[in-house]
């Protein structure tokens, strides 16, 4: 595996982590405090 491929997969991991946090772990967060979020899931 060359360096490019490793970096690309790191990007994939970050993207997946972000999406999972945004759509599956959203519930808990928004019930407690939504004030830190930019727009509370608008769009």
């Amino acid at each position: 595996m060359d360096i490019q491929e490793i970096l690309a997969f790191v990007a994939l991991a970050i993207a997946l982590a972000f999406l999972i946090r945004k759509f599956f772990l959203k519930k808990k967060k928004s019930d407690k405090n939504c004030g830190d979020d930019d727009d509370c899931g608008c769009h």
């Binding site: 060359d2 360096i3 490019q4 491929e5 970096l7 690309a8 990007a11 994939l12 970050i14 993207a15 997946l16 972000f18 999406l19 945004k22 759509f23 928004s30 019930d31 407690k32 405090n33 939504c34 004030g35 830190d36 979020d37 930019d38 727009d39 509370c40 899931g41 608008c42 769009h43």
Partner: protein, 700 residues
Amino acid sequence: MVSNQNINVALIGNPNVGKTSVFNQLTGLNQQVGNYPGITVEKKIGFCKLPNNVKANILDLPGTYSLNASSIDENVVIELLLNKNDKLYPDVALVVTDVENLKRNLLLFTQIKDLEIPTILIINMADRMAYKGITLDIPYLEEHLKTKIALISSRKGFGIDALKKLIVNYKSISSEPCLNASSIDPEYFNTLRKTFPNQLLYKLWLVITQDVNFLNLDRKEIRSSFTKSHSDLKRLQQKETIKRYQFINDVLKVGLKIDETVAKDFRSKLDRVLTHKVWGYFIFFLILFVIFQSIFEWSKIPMDFIDSTFASLSSLTADNLPAGVLTNLISQGIIPGIGGILIFIPQIAFLFMFISILEESGYMSRVVFLMDKIMRKFGLSGKSVVPLISGTACAIPAIMATRNIENWKERLITILVTPFTTCSARLPVYAIIIALVIPDNRVFGFLNMQGMTLMLLYLLGFGMAIFSAYILNKILKIKGKTYFVVEMPNYKLPLFKNVGINVIEKTKAFIFGAGKIILAISIVLWFLASYGPGEKFNNAEKIVTENTKENPLSEAEFENAVASQKLENSYIGLMGKTIEPAISPLGYDWKIGIAIISSFAAREVFVGTLATIYSVGGSDNEVTIKNKMAAEINPVTGEKIFNFASGISLLLFYAFAMQCASTLAVTKKETNSWKWPAGQLIFMSGFAYVVALIAYQILK
């Protein structure tokens, strides 16, 4: 940042007194917009540098007519003012009033004063005093209202420095109340005082009459011993209001003089035209027409520019970075993904600009007045017009804007039908498909066909919203008191600064909110499209060579064939092929199917998804997203994928389908039940499928 050393300042006032302009004047672009915990009420905090190196956190509270809350937004104000432990509890309250509506605006002021918070009275729009023949006796008013007055004009920007000085010296401001609460009903309040000797009487009164959380007192305890019937309470509230007005009238009799002979009446002339039974509607539709035409026309040049910039950026990176997986990810996944977000900035900025101009100018209330009778026939209220129009920006704030509809049935119906209005997330999808399937011709020399189609789609959205409201009105059996009170504010020329800040804030929220999702999805999509399982993907070159043994392809053709063989057998291709039977009757291929599925994260992801899929699989001749889509051809029939029939079918699908998880969440929050969002999802999406199916089958 919110810091404990800073002074906490709360900005309070009636709607339409220029509170937001004062906020913008004090804070400039130093603002943070968020939400109150657990509820979707917008929370705006700004930071302001005051003289003597003092800093202040300025909290812009929702507009309210009094402390007798009738909505969640207004509740926020009371809850904050009653809770001394809140980290934003104000050291000083600024009550903003409009010099032309001083009498009514002072009602709220006297209530805030009775909470014994140091209060500064801001009399705004002072630049209009001469015009309206108003003179004020400031020292007299200050003495009798027991406050300091800042006479300002947030439009012209004068008086702001004096106001800042007053805020710094807030400790010198009296916190003595204006009105003795016990005078409302001496007997009742005396027993109250005896039971709770350490509490402020007016606070107790608020806790009894309102539905607020009050941390220092157990409300149930008060309630049980001091319960009064609903109408008794209201009688007392009426008495309170009368007392307050008596006090205000007495003060203003000396403190405010109006020379009617000097006053100019611009409002009634404009009202006569704008609420006229013919001209009123004509002007309203003309305004809508101009808005939708210009969104399309004015955005075209910047949009094309962004599109081609990103296309050349993409090929530039592909050519200049060392070849490899990361370079491909950047040039085929990330850059088209970012381009797919930024391309819609022009249209979204224009849309938010128009909506905030309509609201700022005071015109929106005239539309409410004009439309109420008609809307009631469909089970809606005149006030439903505001959510329906602001729904063209985003359904989420629009659904929140239904809170000032007093009748529950009208409000529920408005919430349920608002997602039919064409939100800004649909705009990207419409824009690109219209550009592909509708000719760029002009009818009668000035009507742009593409602009007309866009306008028709907006009308279709409104029409569908109203039609379903009519049906819901027949089905839903909810009885409730109907009442309707809407303030008709004075006309104002919208302030460039207010509109500008609003547009910047909203556009930023779009880019960083939706943008992050779109970017992440395009990265994931690129991987799914670039990797695949099994022989068919890994040995694509071999398979293509064997299949084309008889008529060998040119080198470019060969490469294209390999790329599409790979794409079809990649992970995403296999997923798409699985759902293809369900969507091919609608005229879509599997690539569109993937784009539709990813649209459930956010509708505007559609374009970015197609851009990524086509970048991975497509030819390099076509660089921009639009051209790539135009060049797509169905391998079986040889027809264009985006033809008139499939284009119309897609437009209709996006017009009706419920594809926004955030809207469903807001509906759940506002209706307190999963029943309604579930209904929206099933009904809207099912209907969209059927309509798109019929349209394609007829047109193909």
